[in-house]
Amino acid sequence: MIAIQVLVAGAAEGEVLVLDEPLSFWGGVHESSGVIIDTHHPQHGAALAGKVVVMPAGRGSSSSSSVLAEVIRGGVAPAAILLGETDPIMALGAMVGEALYARTVPVVVLDRDQYARVGGWQYARLAVGDDGMQLTEGPRASHH
């Protein structure tokens, strides 16, 4: 179990998708499908929808906030976003998505060790506890 730095709180779970490079949602993520369309990105073509996305950082334009809010609206957002560094632009997109559509995409920041550990997981689960949020490795809830 890992205690983490929380930008946007919430419970979530899903398959882990690790991005090898920072991703700008603006110009990098298709707004209606949630698929990575940045042709220079190593995970080009991957679908973000429902995944616990582990990414080193956002990148570039502040319009990425709008794109994250847009994929939340469309129901094709990541289940959660786990960052390697603080990113107010990603956090804002999630906050606005939550305010407008009552759907929470938790955004948290991992330290280097945590980041490396989660990168090896297939499935991750975020929970909100009394003393902050915890991150645990799968299994899938449906296997009960």
Binding site: L7, S62, S63, S65, R73, P88, A91, V96, E98, A102
Partner: protein, 432 residues
């Protein structure tokens, strides 16, 4: 739903301005700020339509009765409200874009519709704390005006304008404005340094070399505001530069020592004619010399730039095979129309676009051939945004090419300064 989304008159919800306050407070906590400080004005970029969510946000805020509490200007929208027939995209985008623009106006924002708010009559002064969005406006405010703004953008720009506050971090503080990287310009001819291409290209290089750090440019003795505008816009496109210093030119860099706050630079980069020539070449995406359009005015053309355009064009007519667009703010258009220049330029075949920009929205009709521009920012974004092939050149090259109907080059512009052996040889990282 967050409090008060449906909160019309008489509703029991708290007013949705609390959403602005709450978003701003949560944002401030993430930045690590210990307090909020008041701002004197705001510039909003969120008025550009990015899809239904951006419209939902604007509608939610506006219908709740939220009002900005400081003088607030608006960046470009998706359409030219003064010349709507120029828009070539889908009608539903026009309707959504118009609704976006209406909501921001209803919240008390001035309908300036320009990415160059620093060209408006009233602009912030040295030391003023402001909240500006749009990357080129941010870098200009910080670097050229000495006003203080962080990199604000979608959603938070409106929250800052409504609450009249921002977190006291980064570029709002003395410490956060000091230079980090020394950029020495060496071996570049004076004649080259008087060209618009020099500044746009230097900006493009800076963005690539320093990322989001604050560069201190040494070795450029003079620059016009339009030069610094081109430099900043380019650096904020290829990189995330929000401020630069130019020693002896920008207000917070009277000396090299002042720009670095008396500390040593973290890194030194040397740039000469060769690096500049390579960077300029990189901004041209095609070898094609057939020309379908010329697009200038990214960021929005200034009054001074219009005077230069008139001089270079000298009453000649644009070749009939191509379109010639100049993007500008409606305030500048009013000034040039007062001078009678608008009619004169239109008679030569120049089309003036206001309220939006040709790299964001489909305006060019797609005539065969490359699009030529003197904007490094346009050259950087338009191939991806709109699929154009771009030829980057000076304003003079753009005008000559437009008159001739094919790309025309002044090959002398990157020549090495006579007698300068160091020119063009980089020592740290500026090789390309």
């Amino acid at each position: 739903m967050d409090g008060g989304t449906n909160g019309g008159p008489g509703a029991s919800f708290p007013p949705v301005t609390t959403l602005a306050h709450r978003l701003l407070a949560r944002y401030a906590a993430i930045t690590g700020a210990t307090r909020l400080i008041p701002i004197t004005r705001a510039h909003i970029d969120g008025c550009l339509y990015h899809g239904p969510a951006s419209l939902d946000f604007a509608r939610t805020m506006a219908e709740s009765g939220a009002q900005v509490t400081v003088p607030t200007t608006l960046n470009v929208g998706a359409i030219d409200l003064l010349h709507p027939k120029l828009f070539r995209g889908k009608p539903e985008i026009v309707a959504a874009g118009r609704e976006m623009m209406r909501h921001y106006s209803a919240m008390g924002c001035r309908q300036t519709w320009t990415c160059a708010p620093y060209q408006l009559v009233e602009r912030p002064a040295l030391g003023e704390q402001i909240a500006w969005a749009e990357s080129n406006a941010i870098v200009f405010a910080n670097s050229v005006l000495g006003a203080r703004t962080e990199r604000y953008g979608d959603f938070i720009d409106l929250c800052a304008a409504i609450t009249g506050t921002v977190p006291e971090v980064g570029l709002h503080t003395d410490e956060g404005r000091l230079g980090r990287v020394l950029v020495e310009i060496r071996g570049v001819r004076d004649a080259t340094m008087r060209r618009d291409t020099f500044f746009a290209t230097l900006g493009h290089l800076l963005g690539k070399l320093v990322g989001s750090a604050i560069p201190v440019v040494d070795g450029v003795e003079q620059a016009r505001e339009d030069d610094l505008k081109a430099l900043g816009a380019a650096a904020a496109s290829s990189g995330a530069v929000a401020m630069f210093h130019m020693v002896g030119v920008t207000p917070e860099a009277p000396t090299l020592a002042a720009a670095f706050g008396g500390r040593a630079p973290g890194r030194t980069i040397r740039i000469g004619p060769r690096e500049l020539a390579a960077a300029a070449a990189e901004l041209t995406s095609t070898k094609e010399t057939a020309l379908g359009a010329v697009s200038i005015g990214t960021p929005h053309f200034s009054y001074d730039e219009f005077t230069r355009l008139r001089t270079l064009l000298a009453g000649r007519t644009i070749a009939s095979r191509l379109e010639f667009f100049v993007s500008t703010g409606r305030d500048i258009l009013a000034r040039i129309d007062d001078e009678g220049w608008g009619a004169e330029l239109r008679a030569c075949g120049v089309q003036v676009v206001t309220d939006t920009c040709t790299y964001l929205t489909p305006i060019l009709t797609g005539r065969p051939g490359a699009v030529m521009t003197n904007s490094a920012k346009w050259a950087w974004y338009a191939p991806n945004n709109l699929g154009y092939q771009v030829a980057f050149g000076s304003l003079e090259e753009c005008v000559e090419s437009a008159v001739r109907g094919a790309v025309w080059r002044d090959e002398s512009q990157w020549d090495v300064a006579p007698g300068d052996q160091a020119g063009g040889r980089s020592n740290q990282g500026a090789t390309s």
